[in-house]
């Protein structure tokens, strides 16, 4: 896909809604299409975080392997969600596994390329980081609510 048409598709992603057209085009230089089959691991815990993903369709489970219990799903992501918002932060390693639950299409943003552009253009870097912060804040709020374990039976 040419950079121009990639940029047009990227602009439709919720993550890019508050970026200017020029910033989306700038980011499109780091983007390529990625496709994952059902059951395929998108990333594995501990591996180098070399890309972040904007999910276009399908569904991805965020999992952690717990000895004696197997893989526990702690979150799932769908169209419009972002996977890998920690690629900007050292040590650039994945904290959890991510596995496609169904055929999934995503934009893959090369981590080195993104880090380079964030450094090279601070105006872009600020807008990009602000979007990541909004994403992280929303996910943190959801994780805290999840941590309350509100459906656990209260024995009366």
């Amino acid at each position: 896909m040419a950079i121009e048409s990639l940029a047009r598709s990227l602009a439709d992603q919720p993550f890019c809604k508050e970026l200017t057209q020029a910033q989306v085009e700038f980011l499109a230089g780091c983007a390529k299409n990625a496709r994952f089959a059902a059951g395929e691991y998108v990333v594995r815990e501990g591996q180098l975080a070399d890309a972040m993903f904007l999910i276009r369709s399908g569904r991805i489970a965020i999992e952690s392997h717990v000895p004696t219990k197997g893989s526990i799903q702690v979150d799932s992501l769908g169209p419009g969600d972002v996977l890998g918002w920690s690629v900007l932060l050292p040590p650039f390693r994945w904290h959890l596994d991510a596995r496609a639950l169904e055929p999934t299409l995503a934009f893959s943003l090369d981590a080195n390329c993104v880090r380079g552009k964030v450094q090279a253009d601070h105006s872009f870097g600020y807008a990009f980081t602000l979007r990541l912060l909004a994403e992280a804040s929303q996910r943190l709020a959801q994780a805290r609510l999840q941590q309350l374990d509100v459906y656990k039976a209260e024995v009366g």
Binding site: R59, A61, I62, E63, K69, G70, S71, I72, Q73, V74, D75, S76, G78, L101, E102, Q142, L145, Q146, L148, D149, V150, Y151, K152, A153, E154, V155, G156
Partner: protein, 274 residues
């Protein structure tokens, strides 16, 4: 019923286990000429020798010959109800309380947000809405549970998911490796619906903290607070607003509720001492 404090004995005609700790009791209402109720109302169920508990009606209001309750066994009375068999009798008082605004929702999008056992009091609403589906706009259901094994009404969920005129999103707080559905809190499902928020009616039932966050998320999407309804829960005893056990500020949950519009509950939910 002539005396709201006098239980009427009804016979169990079916016992169904829903999950590890939750079951559904069908009672025979035919001998009394049927049991009429509005979606969202509850009954006081009396397990003889153990006591009474308030339980929302979870069956179909269009089938008055069967009175259905879905119950989670969490205490001595509900555990006693969980030991009942076909042919056993229990005491029933009701129906009590306010109900979901099904008529008000006609012509509007309907958003059902349920958490855990909270799907049970909303199921009669779904039966009502789906029985005259064309009278409503979009029907969106967001249901959250603790784990896949805790999901209620699995067969009906599949049936609703298969309908082209129903948007159903289900999530669990923790999935296992076999879970193919969504994981995370129910609030994150709400943004996925293609709603006309200004023309929507939302009905929420589940743990109070879940309803607090979900109502904020709905307000954030543009649903007017006056059209967001919550089903509240407190320690109900008499069911008729006499004993005061379920008092929440100036309201009695059993008599004035359990279904309230959000603006009536917002100031009360903000008072931590209540």
């Amino acid at each position: 019923m002539s005396d709201a404090l006098l239980p009427e004995v009804m016979e169990v005609v079916r016992f169904r286990r829903e999950t590890r700790d939750t079951f559904t009791l069908d009672l025979d209402a035919r001998p009394r000429g049927g049991f009429r109720f509005a979606p969202g109302q509850f009954n006081m169920l009396y397990a003889f020798g153990f006591g009474e508990v308030p339980i929302s009606i979870s069956g179909d209001p269009l089938s008055p010959g069967v009175l259905t309750h879905t119950i989670r066994a969490v205490g001595p009375v509900t555990r006693a109800l969980g030991r009942l068999k076909k042919g056993d009798g229990i005491g029933v008082r009701g129906p009590f309380g306010s109900y979901w605004p099904v008529d008000e929702a006609q012509g509007k999008d309907v958003v059902i947000v349920a958490g855990g056992i909270g799907l049970a009091p909303l199921r009669p609403t779904l039966y009502s809405v789906l029985s005259r589906r064309k009278a409503f706009g979009r029907v969106c259901i967001a249901y959250g549970a603790r784990t896949p094994a805790d999901l209620l009404f699995a067969r009906e969920l599949e049936k609703w998911r298969g309908r082209i005129d129903v948007d159903l999103e289900v999530t669990v707080d923790r999935g296992d490796a076999d879970w193919r559905g969504q994981t995370g809190v129910v609030t994150k499902l709400l943004g996925r619906f293609e709603l006309d928020p200004e023309n929507a009616v939302a009905m929420l039932c589940g743990p109070e903290v879940m309803m607090r966050f979900a109502s904020r998320a709905l307000e954030g999407l543009g649903v007017p607070p006056a059209r967001i309804y919550l089903s509240m829960e407190r320690n109900m005893k008499c069911g008729v607003g006499s004993c005061g056990h379920c008092q929440l500020g100036p309201t009695f949950i059993c008599k004035d509720g359990p279904v309230f519009p959000l603006p009536r509950m917002t100031p009360l939910m903000a008072v931590r001492e209540l």
